[in-house]
């Protein structure tokens, strides 16, 4: 699904990622843990194609294609989804309108027919229910005045609707209380499937109690310094990142 080889990335001339190698197969959930400033968010932005992140060396192959050669929207339509740590407000655009525009843009890019209003509405209702997202919330402008929990649930709703092949969740647990965290984690778990891969980026082990990863990587100073099974997360919880910071 995703093959990252010797990836070096600089921001404003400063090297942030210093040779990342990562292989994520279909159906796998990988956790990337690490202290602040280790390059976790940079990795997620590079995969999504954000401006200002210069790849100086290395390659990223997604489903056999050169991911780095694709534009942001091409990647999205090809099934790459990023759940934002800080979802962006879009004033005046209702959540419903945004969802419909996004889904139909992707369908159009893939040469599929756009969904008509009744079918779309049915689909959104079906996906919203398990996430406790009400019709009222869908009528509000996207992320405007949303609580932390609402923002994250809205991200997961987008993911559920767009059905990506590769989902990158950037600190989805940040700013969530335990109940909200459970709802979000359930939403993510419901999307686990043999043809979908996930990269879960987090600072804390807590999220991984609910979204149990197949593989855990520790990122420090722009390099993956350790890789292990799900038990690695528990170990880190006890020792902290101190040993990697040195």
């Amino acid at each position: 699904m995703l093959e990252i080889k010797n990836l070096h990335v600089a921001v404003d001339g400063k090297e942030i990622l210093k040779g990342i190698d990562l292989h994520v197969g279909a159906g796998e959930v990988h956790a990337i843990m690490g202290p602040n400033g280790s390059g976790k968010s940079t990795l997620s932005y590079v995969l999504a194609g954000r401006d200002g992140y210069q790849v100086t060396e290395g390659s990223v192959t997604y489903k056999g294609r050169d991911l780095l050669a694709m534009s942001v929207d091409e990647r999205a339509s090809a099934g790459v989804f990023l759940a934002f740590q800080y979802p962006i407000e879009i004033p005046g655009v209702t959540t419903m309108t945004f969802l419909k525009t996004a889904l139909n843009a992707q369908r159009k890019a893939r040469g599929e027919a756009e969904l008509d209003a009744p079918r779309f509405l049915k689909l959104v209702r079906e996906k919203s229910k398990p996430l406790n997202i009400s019709d009222e919330m869908l009528k509000r402008a996207l992320n405007v005045g949303f609580s932390g929990g609402e923002k994250k649930r809205a991200e997961i709703l987008q993911m559920a609707l767009l059905e990506p092949f590769l989902a990158v969740l950037d600190e989805t647990d940040s700013g969530l209380d335990i109940d909200a965290l459970k709802v979000v984690a359930e939403g993510v778990n419901a999307l686990r499937s043999p043809e979908r891969a996930m990269i879960v980026i987090t600072h804390y082990q807590r999220l991984l109690d609910y979204i149990v990863p197949d593989v855990v990587h520790v990122l420090s100073k722009g390099r993956i310094v350790r890789t292990g099974g799900k038990e690695l997360a528990g170990e880190l919880e006890k020792t902290g990142y101190a040993e990697f910071a040195a």
């Binding site: 999205a76 962006i88 879009i90 004033p91 005046g92 655009v93 525009t101 996004a102």
Partner: protein, 484 residues
């Protein structure tokens, strides 16, 4: 806009039928001599078979105009206009029509396609002679019958001068006097035609009145004159213009619109202006100098202006309300989009004369390319106007680094009981917003269109439903080429 659909359907039907009546008269191309003089005005008046009083009014305006100077205070710049090197009257020219859509600028056709405009309508807009002749008489008659049943008068201005002189005399110039300002005065002297609307007391006009009804009357746009009178307790919604760009060879437009709302009457006036803005390099384009003013003459009357301005090279336009009647209300909702080298200086005036009058201003300016976009507004509260309320919200959105947005609000409060609120914001479409939308699959231009439509939502909601859908598409099209 059901009225428009009806028109189109009727046109479609007509187009399908074999034209039965043939041309009754072949209208020859008739032009006034080049330049502006009393003779030109006499020529125009004579061509329209106007009564003496109408000619006198025009001449009075012309003499006044000679004494006036072109206003220079707006934040727009353009080469001097040579008023003596223009034609002020040109009868509809059959020979100016194109033979088929193949002769029309392909760019224009592409825009029509994006707006989803039916073929027959495209031909009309582009000035193509429709083969199965668009029988304006029968189309107009259909609507006129419906309107006549409730006593609504809706006709070309020149017809009103002949058929309803008592109404025209009573209200013409009563809101925008012939001496009002340089361009309004010029219009008063040479106005070609326009619309006249009268809604009798207590009547709710059964349909949206649209300039589409008058689509056949080409070449009347340059110095258009519109007068709408809503008598006591009546209501009318009027739509001007359309989302499709129209072929137009006149560079200078100076229209005047006067609205009069008597006791408890309401007028809702919506405009979409999408005239040629000039090309990507700023060449060509229409200069639009308009005077629009509404008079809430009676108590509890209401006038609401909604405008979507995307066209013209230079726009100079301030639809205003005089809140004379106690408890009257004025509203102004505006979207002004400028791209490439367009210059917009637009806003409103709310003149509070009566007690308990209120006004609301929501202005959304969007600047892209190298354009300049200015909001200029006045809220004035007179000494005797007790308990006035005004709310003004003025938002500007910048796209790209080379455009500019300006806000020039004037507030004059001479009565201490007034409560006036003014909010203004200027923002840019952030890189974050674009990235977020594109990460969800939207191509860059669609992302910008979505964000801008969100920014304009408060105003788009004020438009009649179908008009709003077209306006949304128009917003997207106007901003093409603004990203990247």
């Amino acid at each position: 806009m059901t009225a428009v659909r009806e028109t189109v359907d009727t046109v479609d039907q007509l187009a399908g039928e074999k034209y039965k009546y043939g041309f009754t008269t072949d209208i020859e191309s008739e032009r006034a001599p080049i330049g502006l003089s009393e003779d030109t005005i006499r020529f125009i008046s004579a061509k329209k078979n106007e009564p003496q009083w109408m000619l006198d009014w025009r001449l009075q305006a012309y003499r006044r105009w000679l004494q006036m100077e072109e206003p220079k205070w707006a934040k727009v710049s353009y080469p001097p206009i040579d008023f003596q090197n223009a034609y002020y009257y040109s009868a509809p020219k059959q020979n100016a029509k194109l033979a088929s859509l193949d002769e029309v600028d392909p760019k224009l056709l592409e825009t029509y396609k994006k707006l989803g405009i039916p073929l027959v309508e495209q031909q009309l807009l582009a000035g193509v002679a429709v083969d199965a002749v668009f029988d304006s008489v029968s189309v107009v008659t259909t609507f006129k019958t419906k309107l006549a049943e409730v006593g609504v008068i809706f006709c070309p201005f020149s017809e009103a001068v002949r058929e309803h002189p008592e109404l025209v005399k009573k209200y013409l110039g009563s809101v925008v006097p012939e001496s009002d300002n340089y361009y309004a005065t010029l219009n008063s002297a040479v106005f070609s035609d326009g619309s006249f609307v009268y809604i009798p007391p207590g009547v709710r006009c059964p349909m949206e009145l649209s300039t589409y009804f008058r689509i056949n009357e080409k070449q009347t746009g340059q110095f258009e004159r519109t007068l709408i009178v809503a008598d006591k307790g009546s209501y009318v919604s009027y739509l001007e213009g359309c989302t499709a760009p129209q072929r137009d060879e006149n560079q200078l437009h100076a229209a005047v619109v006067e609205l009069v709302a008597l006791d408890d009457a309401e007028i809702k006036y919506s405009t979409v202006q999408n005239w040629f803005p000039g090309d990507e390099d700023g060449k060509g384009g229409i200069y639009n100098f308009v005077t629009k003013r509404g008079d809430c003459r009676g108590p509890r009357s209401k006038i609401s202006w909604t405008q979507v301005e995307t066209g013209s090279a230079v726009t100079w336009k301030y639809p205003s309300c005089i809140l004379r009647g106690d408890g009257s209300r004025g509203e102004f909702y505006s979207i002004a989009i400028s791209n490439h080298f367009q210059q917009v200086d637009s806003g409103t005036k709310m003149i509070h004369l009566g007690r308990d009058t209120s006004s609301r201003i929501v202005s959304k300016g969007i600047a892209a390319g190298r354009s300049s976009n200015t909001y200029r507004g006045l809220v004035s509260v007179h000494k005797k106007a007790e308990n006035v309320r005004n709310f003004t919200q003025c938002d500007s959105l910048l796209i790209g680094p080379r455009c500019s947005a300006h806000t020039v609000p004037y507030i004059e409060a001479k009565n201490p009981t007034a409560i006036l609120e003014h909010e203004a914001t200027t923002s840019k479409i952030s890189e974050e917003q674009l990235f977020y939308c594109m990460q969800r699959g939207l191509p860059a231009e669609e992302a910008v269109a979505l964000i801008v439509n969100g920014f304009c939502r408060d105003v788009l909601q004020q438009l009649p439903m179908e008009f709003a859908v077209e306006a949304q598409k128009l917003v997207s099209i106007s901003l093409e080429g603004s990203v990247g």
